[in-house]
């Protein structure tokens, strides 16, 4: 056995044993987080389920696997070396060496943050799926596969793996929407739209990677190498445009937002939560990782376009939410808005705006997932999604009403929510450089605020319609699904620097601190040149 273990190559590239230092040696933390859901999905796929005998087992085991994955992410997060740059928990093994591809996973502060966010969102998605009665085995298998793809994306340090995980989520999610969508007549169309847009994003990202690797001519797809390669400005712009298009397909930026409207409105609550919370954040992550961190000149040139796109999308989606008469469509449009703040942050190209963009990935994940989840459950519990029939639900659905109010507040980023902190940093960091875009996003948030207020007034406090079906409040599991997201949103808004006992960090190093070192590393390329020292030089 010892000879066998000795034959396994050491995957840790960083010499510092980070995870479990002094407690437990565990070199494969990220692989475990990424691949355990896949392995469990394959196991579930082979379990026979005569007459639905194991329906609860599929739910329970998927929940515990996701919970364990989240717990591992949390352990990774609290033991993260917050004040060092570069990826940690690295695993690097040759995969296709003849083609310069490595199995390279690693997590910097931004990845760590998103890993945590993905875990929370996936847990909420599973809890919100208790109502799934048809083919639960297939449902949870596909959900676990999508979850693993999202986790893999944020851990990947090789561009081949980035493309692999980026593209791998599309098929399971399309099948989930097609198989379990709410309206039988529209779910297949929604699934094909998802596949079309995300497929386009995958193809464009693959093209960007091919161009980037080809231009760098290093015979490798490793991000660490490609991030340090100086490319001509024109090449950077071409790659940058491709990256923006790929990210736009995920974030639902105008004019590539069609899928978001359909999918978030038609998917079952759990899948809508997963897509809005984890899937859409992938676009923001890609912009930070590939655009801001790798293509500095290209980012500077594309920043106005990016900021304009963010502003336009925010206004467009907010207005569309205002106009919609379908509760789930309102939620779908509102779920796009937090992503615009992230995009604006990446376009700001200042340390503060990029910090805010990274921070808003977490806040946006929780807020978007909460709004689509809450609206999906309201529509389900009230047995209608027509705003003309919904009204006066506050008394009949008290728990759900509170959560819906909190979701609305989270989307527009009012104080004490995680989105507020991110927005504050983004606006302070970006207003000077991308003022037009920032104005657009601010206007979008304002209109979104009005849409939220109108929607809440109509659904919760308006006069009940005599034609409305009977409504009932959420069960405990569904309440927990939304409460997990709401808790994360408020926690992040109240203690973004982590809780302290007598001035000493307690349990949580603080999201800001974890993100900060990585962002400083990225933003150093955008730092203004130092002012000339009087009398120095010749």
């Amino acid at each position: 056995m010892s000879a066998f273990l000795a034959a396994i190559p050491n995957p840790t590239a960083t010499p510092i044993p980070v995870f479990g230092s002094g407690v437990v040696g565990f070199s494969f933390l990220l692989s475990t987080i990424v691949w355990v859901p896949v392995v469990w999905a394959l196991v579930l796929a082979t379990v026979p389920n005569p007459r639905g005998r194991y329906d609860r087992f599929f739910f329970g085991s998927s929940f515990w696997v996701t919970f364990a994955s989240l717990a591992l992410s949390f352990f990774g997060y609290i033991q993260f070396q917050a004040f060092t740059t570069g990826p940690q928990y690295e695993e690097k093994l040759p995969w296709l060496p003849a083609f310069g591809i490595t199995y390279h996973l690693g997590a910097d502060g931004i990845s760590m943050l998103l890993l945590l966010a993905n875990g929370i969102v996936a847990l909420a998605a599973i809890l919100a799926s208790t109502g799934i009665r048809a083919r639960p085995r297939e449902y949870y298998v596909l959900l676990l596969l999508a979850e693993a793809a999202f986790n893999g994306l944020v851990c990947a340090r090789d561009l081949f793996m980035v493309v692999l995980f980026w593209s791998a989520a599309a098929l399971p999610l399309a099948l989930l929407v097609a198989g379990w969508g709410v309206l039988p007549g529209r779910r297949l169309g929604a699934a094909l739209r998802l596949l079309g847009y995300w497929g386009l994003g995958s193809a464009v990202l693959l093209l960007a990677v091919v161009v980037l690797a080809g231009a760098a001519a290093g015979g490798t797809f490793d991000l660490d190498y490609l991030g340090k390669t100086a490319l001509p400005g024109r090449t950077q712009v071409v790659i940058g445009i491709l990256v923006v298009v790929a990210a736009a397909t995920r974030l639902g930026l105008w004019p590539l937002h069609g899928w978001a409207r359909e999918v978030l409105a038609e998917a079952p609550a759990g899948i809508a939560i997963l897509v809005a919370g984890a899937g859409m954040r992938g676009g923001g992550y890609l912009l930070i990782r590939l655009l801001d961190a790798t293509l500095h000149d290209g980012t500077r040139l594309l920043a106005p376009l990016l900021a304009g796109l963010a502003g336009l999308t925010a206004i467009w989606c907010a207005l569309a939410a205002f106009r919609s008469r379908d509760l789930r469509l309102v939620a779908a449009y509102l779920a796009v808005v937090p992503g615009c703040v992230t995009v604006l942050g990446t376009a700001g190209v200042t340390p503060l705006s990029i910090d805010g963009a990274a921070f808003s990935l977490f806040g946006g994940a929780a807020a978007s997932a909460l709004i689509v989840g809450a609206c999906a459950l309201v529509a389900e519990r009230a047995q209608t999604r027509d705003l003309a029939l919904l009204g006066g639900l506050a008394g009949r659905l008290p728990r759900l009403s509170w959560l819906l109010v909190l979701a609305g507040i989270g989307v527009i980023g009012l104080p004490l929510t995680g989105t507020f902190v991110g927005e504050l940093m983004v606006f302070f960091g970006a207003f000077k450089i991308a003022s037009l875009g920032a104005f657009g996003v601010a206007a979008g948030l304002l209109i979104a605020g009005a849409a939220v207020a109108w929607m809440l007034q109509r659904v919760l406090f308006g006069a009940p319609s005599p034609d409305a079906p009977v409504a009932s409040d959420t069960n405990l599991t569904e309440t927990w699904a939304l409460a997990v997201l709401a808790g994360a949103l408020i926690y992040l808004g109240v203690v973004p620097g982590g809780p302290k006992l007598a001035g000493i960090p307690f349990l949580d190093p603080g999201v800001i601190n974890v993100v900060n070192a990585s962002v400083a590393d990225i933003a150093s390329a955008y730092a203004p040149p130092a002012p000339p020292v009087p009398g120095a030089g010749g």
Binding site: A45, P94, L96, E138, L171, G179, G196, G199, L200, S202
Partner: protein
């Protein structure tokens, strides 16, 4: 090197001969035994040949005065066709196939691929490819189901169209032979490297490349003939025909590596256009059987484009993709069986989950969706095309792959999620005929593992493909 290296070829030919004897069973009891054991023994022989190839074929050298070469390219190509044949035999529902039916043709076609893989001169390459293509086309001659009789019109058209393309390739090969003054691949490569790229030289080169690329992509589509063939016959035509044309195309790509890349954009563009058209066909095809053929054609178009990179990484990526492409192209029609309209797939996930899973994995892999084997090949080819500066080719082909993805999702949706009561016309899906498939669950699971493992454990496989490409470009 000893002649023992020919053991896999000998075993394949012997198995083909033995399958012909299956038709000699006259009494009912003997026929039942043949039906029970015949396919299993063929599968066993194919796996044995595959094992022998990996074991004995690892040695490098030549036989028959240099007429037969065993190198890494030959090893990879032979192992791939043997694996594809094994996958096809294992995946087919032999309760729905006549015996021996298309089995001998498929095995003889496999032998043709092995000949082409080890050939060291143009005419041996052409002969091997022609045997594979014609045998593949003739495998279309058996009707689906157990009813006696054969459908000759379809396969005759298939053989005729394949024959025309083969003749064009032969003419072009003849011209290359006359230009170089030799038919040995090494000598032709050396002569062409010295010759200036002129129109009279470029035309036959383009005809040869175009003809082989057309055969490669047309094989999964029954060579353009709408033959009402049995599922295994369709798979054999697709897998064996594409393998023969693909091997010849890669060998020709190796020969042309020294020539200026003037012809490269034309072939790459043709490959990309084929991927695009086949992807569109997969997305819009009226039935799952046609969609399956289009999916395979779409992936094999990438192989044609890979040859246009005229360098080692591209040829290695093309070889890698050809390997997975022929496994999928062979297995998918066999797995689909007679379930031609998509509605007929309704409920398959519940009745035969392993078969449904393998069917979905094969379709998805052929569409190049990650993390399955096809994605790895497509990515490697795209990267090689990018390195060669052919970004427009990558763009076109990627659009084709997205469309192919839609076709794969249609099959996956119908097989996994469509309930029998959802289907408007569940006309031909009697569940009792699906269940007793000879190898159903185990074979489907093994196929699924191949399609997953080929990508995830790609290191040794891609390494071997890369060495194969290196062998193509080296002089013996």
């Amino acid at each position: 090197m000893t002649t023992l290296v020919l053991a896999p070829e000998a075993l394949l030919v012997a198995t083909a001969g033995a399958t012909l004897a299956m038709s000699g069973a006259r009494r009912a009891r003997a026929r039942a035994r043949v039906r029970l054991w015949g396919p299993r023994l063929v599968l066993l022989a194919l796996l044995a040949a595959f094992g022998l190839e990996l074991w004995l074929g690892a040695q490098v050298g030549t036989l028959f005065g240099g007429g037969f070469a065993q190198d890494r390219f030959a090893l990879f190509a032979k192992a791939a066709i043997l694996l594809a044949l094994a996958a096809g035999v294992a995946a087919a529902d032999w309760d729905l196939e006549r015996l021996p039916g298309p089995l001998p043709a498929a095995l003889i076609g496999g032998f043709g691929v092995m000949v082409a893989a080890s050939a060291t001169d143009l005419f041996a390459v052409w002969t091997g490819a022609a045997v594979a293509v014609v045998a593949g086309a003739s495998a279309l001659a058996w009707r689906p189901g157990l009813a006696p009789g054969s459908a000759l019109a379809g396969p005759v058209r298939a053989i005729a169209s394949a024959g025309v393309l083969l003749m064009l390739v032969a003419l072009a090969f003849g011209y290359l032979h006359a230009t170089a003054g030799a038919s040995s691949l090494d000598l032709v490569r050396a002569a062409l490297a010295r010759a200036p790229t002129t129109l009279p030289l470029a035309l036959p080169v383009l005809v040869a490349l175009g003809g082989l690329a057309a055969l490669l992509v047309l094989a999964p589509l029954g060579f353009g003939a709408r033959a009402e063939a049995s599922p295994f016959g369709r798979g054999a035509a697709a897998g064996v025909g594409a393998a023969g044309a693909g091997v010849a195309l890669l060998k020709l790509g190796g020969v042309l590596a020294g020539v200026g890349p003037a012809w490269a954009p034309a072939l790459a563009g043709a490959g990309a256009a084929l991927v695009l058209l086949a992807g569109l066909g997969a997305a819009l095809a009226p039935g799952s059987g046609r969609a399956a053929g289009m999916l395979a054609a779409s992936q094999l178009g990438w192989v044609a484009a890979a040859v246009a990179t005229h360098e080692r990484v591209g040829l290695g990526a093309g070889l890698f993709l050809l390997g997975v492409g022929i496994v999928g192209a062979m297995a998918l029609p066999a797995l689909l069986g007679e379930l031609e309209p998509e509605s007929a797939l309704a409920g398959l996930g519940g009745r035969a989950p392993a078969r449904a899973a393998a069917l979905v994995l094969a379709a998805v892999s052929l569409a190049g969706v990650p993390p399955l084997a096809g994605f790895f090949g497509v990515f490697l080819v795209a990267a090689a095309l990018g390195s060669a500066g052919l970004y427009w080719v990558v763009t076109l082909a990627l659009v084709g792959s997205i469309l192919a993805g839609v076709g794969a999702v249609r099959i996956a949706y119908a097989a996994l999620l469509l309930e029998e009561e959802d289907a408007r016309a569940p006309a031909r899906a009697p569940s009792t005929r699906l269940l007793p498939a000879t190898f159903a669950s185990g074979a489907a699971a093994v196929l699924a593992l191949i399609l997953i493992g080929y990508g995830l454990l790609a290191n040794p496989i891609s390494g071997l493909a890369f060495q194969g490409a290196k062998a193509l470009l080296s002089t013996r």
